[in-house]
């Protein structure tokens, strides 16, 4: 019983004598800056921590792939052969021999253009319809069941119908992109609008914002995190759909490039195209995520 009491007394006595001496060096230390070299070393270390692990995994996978596919009779080419076969395509993506005999850049840009068109329309229509469904109970009752059924239809199932309607490959492909990516945008926007806190609506009511001001000043910023979730899912889906759609409609485009390579048994070209498709899909996703970050800055809820 008496032991802790004595200890406590001892520390209590020790503190006042220790604190002035302890405080002095701290004050002199703070203004001193870390040396610049040390700062760069720290940045390099942080970068290395992020970059090295995926590189190691990639190298191991390549090695495994090489070992498995190098044997004679293997159906798929090893990475070394892929590189040898597609060296020209990699080094000169800009050639254009007319028709569909073009560099990969032209194929990819044609696909990206279709996605840009279809996706932009989907973004505008999706946000507008999502706002309507989120805001009006009757619109939700009327439209939501329809959306829930339509959104389950696979993208390619729309293609024959749109070909019949538009009688041309280009608008049909754009339509398929649109119809694929519009659903997540509608649904997420509607959820975002429905989740606007009553407080914000009260603020708008007291300030007497008119419906248009309410839309731009309250609804869109309040629902922005949800809207961007929808937009991100949408861009992913549209990039998934374009490759499949282009395989069927033909012409210039990365989807048809893959199909054409398969028909001519250029397996290495398919692998190269897949690599590009993956990278671009990743970049598109990052782009929308980056845009979301800029637009919704400071919108972390309360």
């Amino acid at each position: 019983m008496s032991m802790p009491a004595i200890k406590a007394e001892a520390t209590a006595v020790a503190i006042p004598s220790a604190s002035p001496t302890a405080a002095a060096p701290v004050v002199t230390m703070t203004p001193k800056q870390a040396p610049r070299a040390e700062k760069y070393a720290k940045m390099a270390r942080e970068a290395a921590v992020r970059i090295v692990p995926p590189l190691v995994v990639l190298a191991l996978l390549m090695l495994f792939w090489e070992l498995v596919c190098r044997r004679t009779g293997s159906t798929l080419p090893p990475p070394s052969k892929v590189f040898k076969d597609t060296k020209e395509l990699i080094l000169d993506p800009f050639f254009d021999n007319g028709g569909i005999d073009k560099g990969l850049f032209w194929h990819l840009s044609a696909s990206l253009q279709r996605v840009a068109f279809g996706y932009s329309i989907a973004a505008i229509v999706g946000i507008a319809l999502g706002t309507l469904v989120g805001q009006s109970v009757w619109a939700m009752r009327g439209l939501d069941p329809l959306f829930q059924v339509l959104r389950t239809i696979p993208p390619l199932a729309w293609l024959p119908l749109s070909l019949a309607a538009f009688r041309d490959g280009q608008p049909s492909a754009i339509f398929v992109i649109f119809i694929t990516s519009v659903w997540p945008i509608i649904i997420n926007t509607a959820v975002g609008i429905r989740n606007i806190p009553q407080d914000y609506r009260n603020v708008a009511a007291v300030v007497q914002l008119n419906p248009l001001e309410f839309f731009w000043k309250i609804m869109i910023p309040a629902a922005a995190p949800y809207i961007f979730t929808g937009l991100r899912i949408g861009i992913g889906l549209s990039w998934l759909a374009i490759v499949a759609a282009e395989m069927l409609i033909g012409g210039v485009g990365i989807g048809f490039f893959i199909w054409d390579a398969w028909n001519s048994s250029h397996i290495s070209e398919i692998i190269l195209a897949l690599f590009y498709v993956g990278i671009i899909g990743f970049v598109l996703d990052r782009l929308i995520a980056g845009l979301a970050k800029i637009v919704t800055r400071g919108t972390a809820l309360n």
């Binding site: 806190p197 407080d199 914000y200 009260n202 603020v203 009511a205 007291v206 300030v207 007497q208 914002l209 001001e213 000043k217 309250i218 910023p221 309040a222 922005a224 919704t296 800055r297 400071g298 919108t299 972390a300 809820l301 309360n302």
Partner: protein
């Protein structure tokens, strides 16, 4: 006393499906210009509903709210609300949050430069001008509530409605903010209707305290005049017999005659 804001025989019934709940029953209250009136009662007694009715955010079932002898039944900047949880828009800066209301209310009566000056003037009133470019998430809870007060004041409301404005704050910040509101009331002479569940706060700030009975069918149980001279000083009041008597009256009402019944 001339009636400035008048609550005239207000009943409020909520209906959900077949179930109806009578929340407020025959509320009559007359508030004079420049008066500071608090409404106190246990939680769930319909205080906030009553404030929402005055703000026009909730409809009455019977009766009406008169402001300067004219009926008001929709929300508007003449009855600006300081919300319990500040309700600042998180994507706007402190300045923009205040500016939003100012731009609407003074759209035709003030120039752009005048509106800017008016926003800064109101931020200065609550000592928040230094944080004008910060976002709500970057300032403390007390500061957010200050901005909420500035936003409401900047609309030049006829009646300022405070919905438990200090409820979410720690005791020290609350005391500080109460002093600020008292000073603003002294300086600007606003008519203020405040909802609270804090007895000391009610006695310290109000000219009159309206005590509500427990719901359902809450009524005004008693109205207490607080005959303390202004400006009031928190420390001096602590031993002031008048203050203690008022406090006693409210406590008696809340904890003896209308004790909170959990089942109700």
């Amino acid at each position: 006393m001339q009636a400035y804001l008048k609550l005239d025989h207000i009943d409020k019934t909520f209906t959900r499906g077949n179930a109806t709940t009578e929340v407020l029953k025959d509320i009559n209250l007359t508030i004079g210009k420049g008066e500071y009136v608090s409404i106190i009662g246990h939680s769930g007694c319909g205080k906030s509903t009553l404030l929402n009715i005055v703000a026009g955010l909730t409809d009455t079932t019977q009766g009406c709210v008169l402001l300067e002898n004219r009926e008001v039944n929709s929300p508007g900047p003449d009855r600006a609300v300081v919300f319990q949880n500040h309700s600042l828009l998180p994507w706007l800066t402190v300045y923009e949050n205040v500016r939003l209301g100012v731009d609407k209310v003074f759209a035709s009566t003030k120039t752009r430069a005048e509106r800017d000056a008016w926003v800064m003037h109101n931020l200065n009133l609550v000592q928040m001008a230094h944080a004008k470019d910060k976002r709500p998430s970057e300032v403390s809870g007390g500061m957010k509530q200050r901005v909420g007060i500035a936003r409401a004041l900047a609309m030049e409301p006829k009646v300022l409605l405070l919905d438990e404005p200090f409820g979410a704050l720690d005791a020290l910040t609350r005391a500080h903010l109460q002093d600020s509101v008292m000073a603003l009331h002294q300086k600007l002479g606003n008519t203020i209707l405040m909802i609270t569940h804090d007895v000391d706060e009610a006695v310290l700030l109000s000219d009159r305290i309206v005590m509500m009975t427990n719901g359902p069918s809450a009524r005004i149980g008693e109205v207490l005049e607080v005959p303390l001279a202004r400006p009031r000083k928190r420390l001096e009041l602590a031993t002031n017999p008048g203050y203690l008597k008022c406090r006693q009256r409210v406590l008696e009402f809340l904890y003896e005659r209308h004790r909170f019944v959990e089942a109700a």
